[in-house]
């Protein structure tokens, strides 16, 4: 057993750190504490996101894990995890997860050569930004029950229906859409994947403001939207298999744990420099215990993330499903714990948002609200628990009617 990084990995890590340390100095005030709201809420925030995407593309880091065939670097999974970890620590934008981590692998798995040549380079170069057209008002965890239709008419498909919780739809130029091409079909059958331009006539985006008033999510309505047939990805009716194939089971979640570490460092600093009731806050037994617990969570979470990389490297795909679900639910619940503990430790100050008196620039009261979304999106934590029980423990699956 050996947990040491190779020389090469150490050098890469240093390069990532130097890059983010220097580039994050360019973050505008509107980027705030980063995260989804930093990227999508304001124009300045999104501009910084695109700026960083360009910088990352210059380094080849958006496509580091891609095959060389598509202009990637074929970097090892370990390098990718290190990259995620460092980027998470700096809460840095620039990686459009929808384009880079979700749609690009879908294209590689199922697109025609023409589509690959047309659609992959802009993603690789940090020039194309996507949103994800999956969830609908009546199809959340049970995604396969979606009802948006895309009916073939001549050389195009006509789309009608509604998507929701569409992160960044108001900023993205494109959507990858999962819709029903066979209106008589049920569940996973008869679904297809499309590349869709958001400026097509009939696409309407309505903000779905988050509880703190920030604009991250949207509803997207389709009213006789005509998608050219050449933008169907893969085989018509086979979209469910293609989608499941790229549901990103392999993601390690490393960035979530390093992000928690960063906030922990800031909290320790805050506690050392804050006096309450005649003593340093860092001497308060409650604060000490809670920060110790967050440290433990970030530590054990990190070893889970690295284990995921290791399983990936070894090709242990059964183990990966369990571990990736574990990492998703553990990291998002750790963020909730961190936000709650930190705002408790701050006392009355814990309620301050973007306020001159807010400790840590209001990052913790922000996180207290935004992290609630994270235990719900990308597969609710209940769905993750089901997967662990079914795949990891072999317990009987839910029966669908």
């Amino acid at each position: 057993m050996d947990f040491r990084l190779t020389k090469e990995e150490e050098l890469k890590k240093e390069a990532f750190e130097a890059f983010f340390e220097s580039e994050m100095k360019n973050a505008p005030p509107a980027f705030g504490n980063g995260g989804l709201e930093g990227v999508y809420d304001t124009e300045e925030g999104f501009e910084f996101h695109t700026y960083m995407a360009g910088k990352l593309a210059e380094k080849g880091w958006l496509s580091m894990g891609w095959p060389k065939l598509y202009g990637g670097q074929e970097a090892s999974i370990m390098e990718q995890v290190i990259f995620d970890e460092v980027r998470g620590y700096y809460s840095a934008p620039g990686v459009d997860a929808f384009a880079v981590d979700m749609f690009a692998p879908t294209l590689m798995a199922g697109a025609s050569d023409e589509q690959k040549a047309r659609l992959l380079p802009p993603i690789r170069d940090g020039k194309a930004f996507y949103c994800q057209g999956w969830s609908e008002p009546d199809a959340g965890s049970d995604l396969a029950s979606l009802t948006t239709t895309a009916i073939r008419e001549g050389d195009h498909y006509v789309v009608n229906g509604q998507k929701t919780w569409t992160t960044g739809a108001h900023r993205a130029e494109y959507m990858f859409l999962l819709a029903r091409t066979d209106p008589e079909s049920r569940r996973g059958k008869g679904l297809s994947v499309f590349h869709l331009r958001m400026d097509l006539p009939g696409v309407q985006v309505r903000p779905l403001l988050y509880m703190n008033g920030k604009h991250v999510y949207n509803e997207v309505f389709f009213n006789d939207v005509k998608i050219p047939a050449e933008d169907l990805i893969g085989v018509e009716g086979e979209g469910w298999a293609l989608t499941r194939q790229t549901m990103n089971f392999e993601r390690s979640g490393a960035g979530g744990f390093s992000g928690a570490k960063r906030y922990l460092e800031q909290m320790i600093d805050y506690a050392r420099n804050t006096t309450r009731n005649g003593q340093q806050l860092s001497k308060d037994p409650n604060a000490r215990r809670k920060m110790a617990e967050v440290f433990i969570g970030a530590e054990v979470g990190k070893s889970l993330a690295y284990k995921i990389a290791w399983m990936h490297q070894k090709g242990d795909f059964a183990g990966l499903i369990t571990a990736a679900s574990a990492s998703k639910l553990f990291s998002t619940e750790l963020a909730q714990k961190l936000a709650n503990d930190a705002t408790e430790i701050m006392g009355l100050y814990g309620q301050l948002e973007d306020d001159p008196d807010a400790p840590l620039g209001g990052a913790m009261s922000d996180l207290y609200q935004m992290c609630k979304g994270a235990t719900i999106f990308a597969g609710t934590n209940e769905i993750q628990r089901n997967l662990i029980a079914w795949v990891g423990l072999g317990l009987p699956r839910l029966k669908f009617k």
Binding site: E293, A326, I388, A389, L393, L395
Partner: protein, 371 residues
């Protein structure tokens, strides 16, 4: 990076697992727990023959000089079987104290005997106040010529009732000092305590016990330092045993949830049960991967002050969480003496106290984090 065990380590694990499965089924565990000795001598001798006790001792003292990770493999397998033995107190606690603080002469005298299964040892650290800190050590050792006279009472001393030698943490004018005391020395009296682990925790009373000066382990006043040197590895070894218990608890509960039928369906098909079990699995997985990292750090000689405390606090809480849920999922049968899951439920509480409870490690960790 290489996160797998090597072939020899896999073989060691297999041989420990096979031995314990054959020699010590759960019924035997209960028998040992209920016996006054709390120990099976025949098994102990066999274990020594298999070479488990000498693995980590240096070659100069008749050992194999293998890395500590192998001790954690043995402990993990013992944990799976809820195996009661003086292995931890003898080989790990006292073995490491001697390795860290003993003179060459003491190591030559004791380590080969420990390795051969000929010496059972106990470490007497805690007292009436039940403090984990240096200040908690108050038992007096007064120098008289070349000898020392020990007076006071030690509590929660594991396996003193069957020990040949006891390493006693006492207080001389120079501070905490360790002494190797023959358990048969006049003035030493030993009484078993009734514990939740049904293990051999003892009260050891020292009434004018005369100990020769050369029975001192390390320098006068060096005792606390030696104990602190021993603690990281011993703590990690205990965590490995606890995580073995977690793994077995999850395996037993998974099997039970698949076979127990209510409302015409295995209860493992109910989401309530599935979600408990997923949480148990996540608690275990995160802990065991972390254990591997921490033991690697120790074998590499790195400072792991934060990590060891983080690990023990984590494992303390997760072992309790996992076994509590495990009994819940078993339902009424899980609460019986006859059923095996209760062995683990009790051990989770018993082991929580060993080498520091959660509050102690949180505090230590907060210090190390600069709080």
């Amino acid at each position: 990076m290489d996160l797998d065990f090597n072939k020899e380590q896999d073989m060691l694990r297999k041989s420990v697992a096979e031995f314990l499965a054959k020699e010590c089924p759960f019924d035997t565990v209960r028998e040992i727990e209920d016996s006054a000795e709390g120990f099976n001598k025949k098994m102990w001798k066999k274990m020594a023959k298999l070479g488990w006790m000498e693995i980590h001792f240096p070659e100069a003292y008749g050992g194999l000089g293998d890395p500590f990770v192998e001790m954690t493999i043995i402990m993990e397998e013992m944990g799976k079987k809820a195996f009661p033995s003086p292995f931890f107190s003898t080989v790990i606690l006292c073995g490491l104290v001697l390795l860290e603080g003993g003179s060459d002469k003491q190591k030559k005298a004791f380590l080969p005997k420990i390795a051969a299964g000929k010496k059972i040892m106990a470490l007497a650290q805690y007292e009436k106040e039940a403090s984990y800190l240096e200040a908690g050590i108050q038992l007096s050792a007064q120098s008289e010529g070349a000898d020392y006279i020990l007076n006071g009472k030690k509590m929660f001393v594991p396996n003193a009732n069957i020990a040949d030698e006891i390493i006693v943490a006492a207080r001389t004018i120079q501070g905490v000092t360790l002494f190797l005391v023959d358990a048969k020395t006049p003035g030493v009296s030993i009484q078993k305590m009734q514990t939740i682990g049904k293990d051999n925790n003892c009260v050891v009373t020292f009434d004018n016990v005369n100990v020769p000066g050369d029975a001192m382990v390390g320098e006068p006043g060096a005792g606390w330092h030696i104990l602190e040197q021993m603690a990281p590895k011993a703590t990690v070894a205990k965590c490995a045993e606890m995580l073995g218990g977690c793994e077995e608890s999850i395996a037993m509960t998974t099997a039970y949830a698949k076979e127990r039928v209510q409302y015409s369906t295995p209860i493992g098909g109910f989401q309530a049960i599935q979600h408990y079990m997923a949480d148990m699995r996540v608690a275990y997985d995160t802990s065991i991967y972390y254990l591997h990292k921490v033991v690697w750090m120790l074998d590499e000689g790195m400072d792991a002050t934060k990590e060891v405390s983080a690990l023990k606090a984590q494992v303390n809480e997760q072992y309790k969480f996992i076994t509590e849920r495990a009994v819940q999922i078993h339902g009424g049968i899980g609460t019986t003496r006859e059923f095996n899951i209760g062995l683990f439920y009790r051990r989770a509480k018993a082991f929580e106290y060993i080498l520091g409870d959660t509050a102690y490690h949180h505090d230590k960790l907060a210090d190390a984090l600069g709080m």
